[in-house]
């Protein structure tokens, strides 16, 4: 490789290092806090942009929510408390995992109920067709059947 090429390569490497460094400007008291921050910003949904979490969105409100998450974590809020804080202001729209209440309980009960209903239907149908009594053969038919069977063998 020629010197000029090496120089260009080194320059590009330096630029890419700066690009990485620019994203990571937050300073955390410890690594646990950093992990909880990363985890929470993945879990919270941006209220302005339908299918992005606040970690992945560049919208101003997502940025505000990231900053608030950072601030609350350093104030000693638990993960649940941070989520509640956001839900109190931005409704359950901002959480991907729905909370259990009378409106959402059907998400869990629905499939179970559907399965139960299906099982009941299947057993009911099976029993009905199983219980139809076979027709009794008369003596005439019995002897005819016997002759047929005999003839075959």
């Amino acid at each position: 490789m020629r010197w000029s090429n090496r120089l260009i390569a080194a320059g590009l490497l330096l630029i890419s290092l700066f690009a990485v460094a620019e994203q990571e400007t937050l300073i955390f008291d410890n690594d646990t806090l950093r992990e909880r921050y990363l985890d929470l910003t993945q879990q919270l949904r941006c209220p302005k942009c339908e299918n992005q979490n606040i970690a992945g969105s560049n919208s101003p409100i997502a940025e505000d929510m990231r900053n608030k998450t950072y601030e609350l974590l350093h104030l000693g809020y638990s993960d649940d408390e941070v989520v509640s804080y956001m839900v109190d202001r931005y409704t359950e729209f901002v959480i991907y995992q729905p909370r259990l209440n009378w409106g959402t309980v059907w998400l869990w009960l629905g499939p179970v109920l559907a399965l139960l209903l299906g099982a009941l239907m299947v057993t009911w149908l099976a029993r009905r067709s199983g219980t139809e009594p076979p027709d009794e053969l008369s003596d005439d038919e019995r002897s005819r059947l016997q002759t047929l069977l005999d003839k075959d063998s």
């Binding site: 209220p47 302005k48 339908e50 101003p60 409100i61 505000d64 608030k68 839900v87 109190d88 202001r89 931005y90 409704t91 729209f93 239907m121 009911w124 149908l125 009905r128």
Partner: protein
């Protein structure tokens, strides 16, 4: 016969679901629409300054008294410019409007209010969007309908125009005490 009816039940269920999806698709249900978490709750506590006077402190108690609209606006927001003349005419009709200058620059805000007239009874300056965050604001313009005891009755996202006001929002405002 009833057995055949039972066998048709899954088909009926699917038809019902398709009807539901068709309804959502055809009536244009907006998946981005989000209810306000604040409706029915009290105006949150805040401590900010006046747009026109950085020495003057404003709190939630500064707003008490009569029902009001709290309008979040900014000079960087094109829809706010569109909305502004209508807010002026509402104010001239006696509607009390509190302005919250949201994530903006004080100088720009003062110039704007001088150039385009000021419909606001009180001008709150919220440069970091703190009050906005407390109220679950996601952008500007956004307008809250607050009654005389400081309870938030309604939240409207987007610019208000005369049609919206006459058809929907006036009734909400008139119902407040």
């Amino acid at each position: 016969m009833s057995k055949r009816l039972v066998l048709f039940m899954p088909l009926v269920a699917i038809a019902a679901m398709m009807a539901l999806f068709a309804f959502a698709l055809l009536t244009g249900v907006n998946p981005q629409e989000m209810d306000s978490a604040l409706e029915g709750r009290e105006m949150p506590a805040f401590r900010l300054t006046d747009v026109n006077d950085s020495q003057r402190t404003l709190t939630e108690e500064s707003l008490d008294g009569e029902p009001y609209l709290m309008n979040f606006w900014a000079t960087w927001c094109p829809s706010c410019k569109f909305e502004h003349p209508y807010l002026n005419s509402l104010a001239s009709e006696g509607v009390r409007i509190i302005g919250v200058n949201y994530k903006d620059d004080r100088e720009l805000a003062v110039t704007w209010l001088r150039d385009y007239a000021n419909p606001y009874d009180i001008d709150v300056f919220d440069p970091n969007g703190d009050l906005g965050f407390e109220l679950g604001v996601t952008g500007a313009p956004e307008t809250f309908f607050v009654d005389s005891s400081g309870i938030i009755r309604h939240r409207f996202q987007g610019p208000i125009d005369s049609a919206l006001w006459e058809n929907k929002l006036k009734a909400v405002y008139d119902a407040m005490e």
